[in-house]
């Protein structure tokens, strides 16, 4: 990575170049609904479309530009990738779907992997040739990662793995998994018995079962390890350091400067989109947006969304955070995921009879976008620690309330 911070004019030129390229190459509507997040890739058709798009973006030199050249990056300053990310957002491109590779595994391997690891994995992550998935959660330990029970037992040059993981995104398509497994069940602290692996997904004893979501679609699998042998070279960070490595992995998500390859992680859904799309909806024989009750609620949602953006900016103003220093940071996930749930639910609620139709019906608004968006949003209010767990964490760490 280059240490030289680019000037404003260099960045502006670069941004213009990216924008020009996107004008020409941002894919047209494929005629089927595209996933808004990487957790919603439910069909081969969607997968192939997204794979092609990510490959095209990388080939053009617009993904992981700050990653080293010899592994598929361009060795540029992270500020350039941030410019690209902004343009992708502005042009509302499809997502760069290989998120676990781009945002978690890739930066981790570049940070602490061996030379062999880097040569073997990085380029495939960028080109979308190798899809990565994540194996942290387990069926019996949803929000309690530190309690993972999947066992990995050393046997010669291999580890023998037994157990199961759940909510494996694209588990059926992935070639590799970042896997958190217990190598020592006897440690005093449960965290100390965990190790972190870059595990293959294809091999004897590794099976996936697709999980059908409330939307009727797929996107996650449950992954079963039954005496699966994985080479000991898959271990990363050393035995017993799995928890520390997992926590380190979660840090990269915060953007290019933190190490992630960048791209368009998710399609942002905004109240502005909702308002535009329901303009034609009628209620009591008049436009929906003239109804005073609806208007009041929409304004509340506009305010909720705006408050999130303002909180993000306010969190950098020290004097305005001194009384509850961790409040805005720790509550962000709760507030954004719950806001999205309320907003998307409302998007469906105000459609009158149209809200009774579903994806696939030609009369739906935007192809049933809101129906699907609402249901899929539960991935964010449940995944990564449910909203209820978030409330415990905030109540205890910000307000100092006693443990539940």
């Amino acid at each position: 990575m280059s240490d030289h911070a680019p000037s404003a004019s260099e960045l502006a030129d670069f941004r213009a170049e990216v924008s020009g390229w996107l004008e020409e190459h941002n894919p047209a509507d494929p005629g089927f609904l595209l996933p808004q997040t990487f957790m919603e890739v439910g069909s081969d058709q969607q997968l192939e479309f997204l794979r092609e798009w990510q490959h095209k973006l990388w080939s053009a030199g617009y993904l992981g530009v700050h990653w080293p050249e010899q592994y598929g990056g361009r060795g540029m300053h992270p500020a350039f990738q941030n410019e690209i990310n902004r343009e992708l957002r502005r042009h509302r491109t499809p997502i760069t779907f290989n998120v676990i590779g781009l945002g978690w595994a890739g930066p981790l391997i570049l940070d602490i992997g061996t030379e062999e690891d880097k040569a073997k994995y990085i380029k495939g992550i960028l080109s979308a040739e190798d899809i990565w998935c994540q194996g942290f959660s387990e069926p019996d330990h949803g929000s309690d990662l530190g309690n993972a029970q999947t066992r990995a037992v050393r046997d010669g040059d291999d580890y023998i793995v037994n157990g199961s993981k759940i909510w494996t995104t694209m588990g059926n398509y992935a070639k590799y998994m970042i896997l958190l497994a217990r190598t020592d069940p006897t440690t005093k602290r449960k965290y100390d018995g965990l190790s972190f692996f870059l595990s293959p997904m294809h091999g004897t004893g590794i099976d996936t079962r697709p999980i059908q979501k409330i939307t009727g679609e797929y996107g996650f699998t449950e992954t079963f390890f039954t005496d699966a042998r994985i080479p000991s070279s898959c271990l990363i960070g050393g035995e017993g350091n799995g928890w520390r490595v997992a926590m380190q992995t979660l840090q990269y998500e915060r953007g290019a400067a933190a190490g992630a390859a960048g791209g368009q992680v998710q399609v942002r859904v905004s109240i502005a989109d909702l308002i535009d799309e329901v303009r034609s909806v009628k209620r009591d024989g008049a436009p929906l947006l003239e109804d005073p009750v609806i208007r009041d609620r929409l304004v509340q949602l506009i305010m909720d969304e705006k408050a999130l953006g303002l909180a993000d900016k306010r969190s950098t103003l020290g004097d305005l955070n001194s009384d509850y220093p961790m409040s805005l940071l720790l509550s962000y996930k709760l507030r954004v995921s719950e806001y999205q749930r309320r907003m998307r639910q409302y998007g469906l609620e105000i459609q009158g009879g149209l809200g009774g139709l579903y994806v696939g019906d030609e009369d739906t608004i935007a192809g049933g976008f809101w129906q699907r968006a609402y249901f899929n949003n539960f991935a964010t209010t449940i995944g990564g620690g449910t909203s209820q767990i978030q409330c415990n964490i905030i109540g205890e760490q910000v307000l100092g309330l006693p443990k539940s």
Partner: protein, 376 residues
Amino acid sequence: MKKSNMAIGLSEEQGMLLDTAREFCRDRSAIPAVRALLQSESGFDAQVWQEIAELGWLGVAVSEAHGGSGLGMGSAIPIVECMGKRLLSTPYITTVLVAEALQRAQSHALCERHLPAIVGGQIATLALLESEDWGEETIELTATDAGGDLQLAGSKTQVAYAVQAELFLVSLTYQDEARLLLVPASALGEGAVRRQTNIDETRRSSRVDFTGATVSSDHLLSGDAAAIIRDLRLLGALLYAAEAAGSTAACMDLTVDYLKTRKQFGHLIGSYQSLKHPMVEVLCDMDNARSFVYHAATLVSEASLDEDAESACRMAKAQASEALKFAADRAVQFHGGMGFTYECDAQLYIRRAQWSQQAFGDAYHHRKRLASLLLD
């Protein structure tokens, strides 16, 4: 929907005011001091008022030419927020608004004559409201010519600190137009001021009958009175929002302290999720109110408020009204039987919440106007 203005900042001066005000309000307005004033005639401590004047806070938004520091209304926000956090009630908000009106009207003679005194601690108050309806645009109070003077007919309600005020800024109709008139207390007749009983006992307001008052016509403010009144209502809403945001934080702290110490069924009650989770909601509401308040403080300037500033003031008031109302309601409930008593401090906040929500328009009032700004 047009792109949202997301400006939020804190100037060095605002930061310094925040520090000073935090300390001052904590020292001068501990809960026993607040309670001692509840039944008093004036409702505030004259000594503290004089100190506020000496700190220069009445002049933060007044131009240097008139004895102020010319920092703009955004600089009053941290002060008022801190006052709210300590339930420190004084004629500060209403006095600052009158000074702001004089400046916005650019009535030079009136500014020269009155602003230095106001900066020095003279109490001035706004008389805008005529009924319960904050959305009423028509002004019933009239002025008619009477031999070079103006004679008034009509009354105003919820005039803050009217008993102590030396100056009243009155909205009225004169020659079929909205105008603002500065009325000295000496022009009021015997019995013109009737003190009201306020739900929030830290407040003082009166119904004031201006009928028969005669005032020289050079006390009329120049400028576009309708526009100034609109700005005053928005700035008033913002100031009350800042105060409510501060009170919300204090109310939350009160409840959290109780949840950390009170045991029932063998456990600290704060460990129960049915009490813990709503407190997180209170925290998030308070944080949002604070964000809107400082967003608005960043956008207001001495110019007539543009759409972004209007929108920000209304959001701040709508959010802060709801935040304090919820925090105070839960404060009473979560204190259990104790919360139902006058002795418990939760009463101070639940009473304040009801006053604050209506002052300068409640949440519905502002969201209704936001809908026109944002959806049409």
